[in-house]
Symmetry: C2
Subunit: 259 residues, 2 copies
Amino acid sequence: MCELLGMNCNVPTDIRFSFSGLIERGGRTGPHKDGWGIAFYEGRRCRTFLDASPGCESEIAGLVRSHSVKSLNVVCHIRKATHGRVCLENTHPFVRELWGRSWSFAHNGRLKGVKRRPLTHYRPMGTTDSEHAFCWMLDRIRERYPTPPKRDRSLWRLVADLAKDLDTCGTFNMMLSDARSLYCHCSTDLSWLTRRAPFGEASLIDAEMTVNFAQETTPNDIVTVIATRPLTHHEPWQAMARGSLIVFRDGLEMWSTAA
Amino acid sequence: MCELLGMNCNVPTDIRFSFSGLIERGGRTGPHKDGWGIAFYEGRRCRTFLDASPGCESEIAGLVRSHSVKSLNVVCHIRKATHGRVCLENTHPFVRELWGRSWSFAHNGRLKGVKRRPLTHYRPMGTTDSEHAFCWMLDRIRERYPTPPKRDRSLWRLVADLAKDLDTCGTFNMMLSDARSLYCHCSTDLSWLTRRAPFGEASLIDAEMTVNFAQETTPNDIVTVIATRPLTHHEPWQAMARGSLIVFRDGLEMWSTAA
């Protein structure tokens, strides 16, 4: 299996604290040593850092940990290969362009039979069921909306329907971003937390690291972090309901299938 | 304007020496300080490092200079913005998927009126004429060949025709890779060099750096480097003919419009 980390904010925010916790699970505090990747949005495009080597010892992960990149939307993944060999082609997040925007996708779980679903527009480069599922979702979105729908809610509903469909193939914990929103679907394990004023301190579970967010933020900042398992002690992480999808924008839960 | 650097080899090769020369021109020995980017192929996918800050002082460029990434195909670009603001969306190389492969593209020059050409399949994320031209090329390739053509030569000929067409809009020095070959079109400035046994020494023009390739290679290695301007002293760089296109594969000139 794998672990996921996402962030969605109302002001560009540095994810290094959360990333430092997650990446330890990439071979040190967790077994997810078969590569890792992260996508940071800047406008309509995202910048990715990918590596097929274990996160805990990756030189590129070291750069991501030390170099501040501020972003409104981040999708991150550490991999424990269950399907498909360890190589760049099979490293999440996967990225494709639709409507002149980067869409990025990361997944945790197995999806049986998904590779038999025909694809029209987008093709996988690697051999994972995850990338095939991503291409299938984008095909459906593009088919239904050759240009962006007028109402955001129409897109949210479609993504939720597609996620629900894929969930029937097995386990579909996933994060998807279209450069504006972050979509999270929970099949078995996803927890989230919104940090906003008054900010306090937090300590990582996986590393000796504490941060005082009051010193790092302004009173208007709203930052939501979503992860397979909570990353910090003593913060009110809430588990997503199984089978639910939440759309985050501007750091807030904008819509969900539970609503 | 901008500068380009490409590499095509028969065995995965480290580009750090050439990159170290080029990146100096990103604000130190040259004026191309409006961002830089590099795409390294690993199989069908490429890994990119992109930064909108000057190459000569970029922390990410520092990583690329110090961290060995071996690749058969590399496309690299340093930017001096003439069209479109300085931001990630406008940073070359641009990347899109076709036939389950990453295609990457970098361009030097202005293309007047190219943004009026209609697009069907691929859409730009940024505002450069370069990215629009890339989307237009991929649209044409995809339209003609929904799946890869049986004969490589058919594709090479099509790419050459598209490049010739774009060249009529202004200046079209470009590098394109489809994960197998490297296509270089020279409108005004591109020079190239093939290194093979017996290997010797080379010294950069833009930095104090010398390498003895005999120590870094095996006798079977064939490495071609292509750049806007020669990067080293005392090596037999040859200028490409204006209006010509060369297809490199396995480190060799496989085909050209001059042939």
